[in-house]
């Protein structure tokens, strides 16, 4: 029988090699009689170039001959049932082992248990509108949530000032170290390098006008007014904003926030305010250091590339750079700190369940933080220009 099977149904199999024939699923239908043999396993099915299919003209199978069947698993059973035309009742079988018949019955029963699922059609345009609408609604929700959280944080802050809530100094100082002190090297190095770059740019462009001495003003103005605080804010958003989200998010997914609430404590007082206070204090300090490093970087390039003597450079700086530029820069630092802390903490509190959620919200916190910082920096720039500062 093996030979007739192999020749008729499965020319791929070498009939002489009975061991190989044992491992390959074989099937042959004649009239209402289906003969199967070999191993009907996931492994062997996958090795076939094409899965066994019911011939179009095939009449319904009334009898199954399975004497040559060497092995059967659920994948094989499923495909065999497909070949039988997914019958409600299994056809009469001969040579089928009891365990295999059992498996066939189980698989058949489970296959029929499933209701056919209605296929949902995707309408390209409709989906586009639907998604656009959903994302607009989401943005609106996000803004509302952010404003609400602003309010909640301010309220808790006021309560602390009035003495109705405690200020967690230990936590605040811990965060000051992490967000402030630990960030000093990277902030200074980055500002120093950008300062040098700005000075180079100035030296090259301004030399064409014979005005390379103005490089001094370029470096000092840009760092005092904009770059010092902006660079710091971007670094802090990436470094500490994300850390806030991840820390609070991990606590949220571990139900620690719920535990805080059930113990009658306030997560804003416990987790958000210390972080915010730390950033409010450390951000101006970091910005100040960034300004100094940037001006140092620019100064070194200026002195070496412009052939100005250090004395002349410093005199020029003293004559042209007014103190108000420093205040214009520094006044923005606490605002940016507030934005970064609020977004970072809020995203952390929005984390739900899984580890993937922590990652998503961390990304979102950094993106939103940097966006808000640059947006408000632009608003400040317009404002200061209008009032003539």
């Amino acid at each position: 029988m093996t030979e007739s099977l192999s020749v008729a149904a499965n020319s791929r199999t070498d009939a002489a090699d009975s061991d190989a024939a044992q491992r390959v699923p074989q099937w042959h239908q004649r009239g209402g009689v289906l003969e199967i043999g070999g191993a009907w396993l996931l492994d062997s099915l996958a090795s076939l170039p094409q899965l066994p299919q019911k011939p179009d003209s095939g009449e319904p199978v009334r009898e199954l001959i399975a004497g040559e069947l060497s092995a059967l698993d659920t994948a094989g059973a499923m495909q065999l049932l497909e070949l039988l035309g997914d019958p409600q009742q299994l056809p009469a079988a001969s040579g089928l082992r009891e365990s295999d018949a059992e498996l066939l019955r189980l698989v058949n029963q489970r296959l029929h248990q499933r209701k056919a699922e209605p296929k949902r059609r995707d309408h390209g345009w409709l989906t586009m509108f639907e998604r656009t609408g959903a994302s607009v609604a989401r943005s609106y929700q996000q803004v509302r949530l952010l404003l609400g959280f602003f309010g909640a944080v301010l309220e808790t802050g006021l309560k602390v000032l009035l003495g109705r809530r405690r200020l967690r100094m230990t936590a605040a100082i811990h965060h000051m170290e992490q967000t402030g002190l630990d960030a000093v090297p990277i902030v200074c190095l980055l500002s120093f390098l950008i300062g040098a770059v700005v000075a180079y740019l100035g030296a090259i462009v301004l030399a064409d006008f014979g005005a390379s001495i103005y490089t001094v003003e370029l470096v000092n103005y840009s760092f005092l007014r904009e770059f010092g605080v902006l660079l710091t804010a971007i670094l802090v958003a990436g470094r500490s904003g994300s850390a806030f989200t991840a820390e609070i998010g991990a606590m949220k997914s571990g139900q620690e926030i719920d535990a805080i609430r059930t113990l009658g404590l306030d997560p804003i007082e416990l987790l958000v305010l210390p972080r915010m206070l730390a950033l409010l204090i450390m951000m101006p300090a970091l910005s100040f250091l960034a300004m100094l490093s940037g001006m140092l970087g620019g100064g070194l390039v200026g002195i070496s590339e412009l052939d100005l003597s250090p004395g002349l450079y410093l005199t020029r700086m003293q004559e042209t750079t007014e103190l108000r530029h420093l205040w214009v820069g520094l006044i923005k630092a606490p605002v940016f700190a507030f934005l970064i802390a609020v977004v970072g903490c809020l995203e952390g509190l929005k984390v739900e369940g899984s580890a993937a959620s922590v990652g998503q919200h961390t990304t979102s916190a950094v993106v939103q933080g940097i966006f808000l910082v640059i947006f408000f920096d632009a608003v400040f720039a317009v404002f200061f220009m209008k009032i003539g500062l």
Partner: protein, 268 residues
């Protein structure tokens, strides 16, 4: 039921100076449901991890279906990994994929040539075999209850038609009704698909209702492997406490009153 499918000889596991297993031997028979018990920290999970290759023992041999389970040869590893399915404690489903996709992952990764329609049909069959409703297929793990997540994990473990299933505390965190249903599911699957099942559990009801034999991990070795009725008579003080405590006695009563239902595995 006399053929050995997993054979462990002289297993030694140590983390630094702390020795977890020393010269541990264990035979697991084909087609049986073996429970593994032991005190917390006795190394039950370490034993399972050594068998499935997540942890490399410092000495000893493990043979699974006559293959060297410690082999690092890629083609042999692939064959080994296809021969077992593992369900971790909380399912360990991929949280960014739906249940259906979770079940399809091993199929797609191991058999690239199979048509997608076939893979999806097969995955849906596995979901039905794990007694999950068809609607669950399109859901994400976070949208499922704990019991359903465990069933989804079973469906994924069944994906490659393994011969052996490993379970790490399958009924932990389930209510008694869901736990009993889960036990029945294991029993049904093991009997009708001819699977060998290895269950690490503290659930005395599971031990009494489904396990053919129970292995006790204690003092770095297997203290005993025997049907539970024999273990109850074991003189070891830990086992005495284990089975004679209030929970043990209650489970034993429940187990013996439903023996008739258990000895004749529920045929579907």
């Amino acid at each position: 039921m006399s053929e050995v499918i997993i054979k462990i000889r002289g297993l030694r596991n140590a983390f630094g100076p702390q020795v977890v297993h020393e010269n541990l031997d264990l035979d697991i028979q084909r087609g049986e449901i073996l429970g593994i018990i032991g005190g917390s920290g006795s190394g039950k999970s370490v034993l399972m991890k050594s068998i499935i290759g997540l942890l490399r023992p410092s000495a000893g041999n493990i043979e699974v279906d006559e293959l060297d389970a410690l082999s690092t040869e890629p083609s042999e590893r692939a064959r080994l990994e296809r021969s077992w399915g593992v369900m971790f404690q909380d399912g360990a489903l991929f949280s960014s994929l739906t249940v259906l996709e979770n079940v399809m992952v091993p199929l797609i990764e191991h058999y690239r040539g199979l048509p997608e329609e076939f893979v999806e049909r097969l995955a849906r069959l596995k979901i039905a075999l794990a007694a999950l409703p068809a609607e669950a297929a399109k859901k994400y793990p976070s949208e499922l209850s704990g019991g359903m997540r465990k069933r989804a994990a079973v469906a994924r473990a069944l994906a490659l038609d393994p011969q052996i299933l490993f379970f790490d505390e399958p009924t932990a965190g389930l209510d008694p009704i869901a736990a009993a249903e889960f036990d029945q599911l294991l029993l049904t699957l093991s009997r009708s698909l001819g699977l060998t099942v290895v269950v690490i559990t503290h659930d005395l009801d599971t031990l009494y209702t489904i396990c053919d034999r129970v292995a006790v991990v204690s003092a770095k070795k297997i203290l005993a492997v025997a049907p539970i009725a024999e273990l109850e008579q074991h003189p070891d003080p830990w086992l005495q406490q284990y089975f004679q405590g209030p929970r043990g006695r209650a489970a034993a009563r429940a187990g013996s009153s439903s023996t008739t239902a258990i000895t004749q595995p529920s045929r579907v």
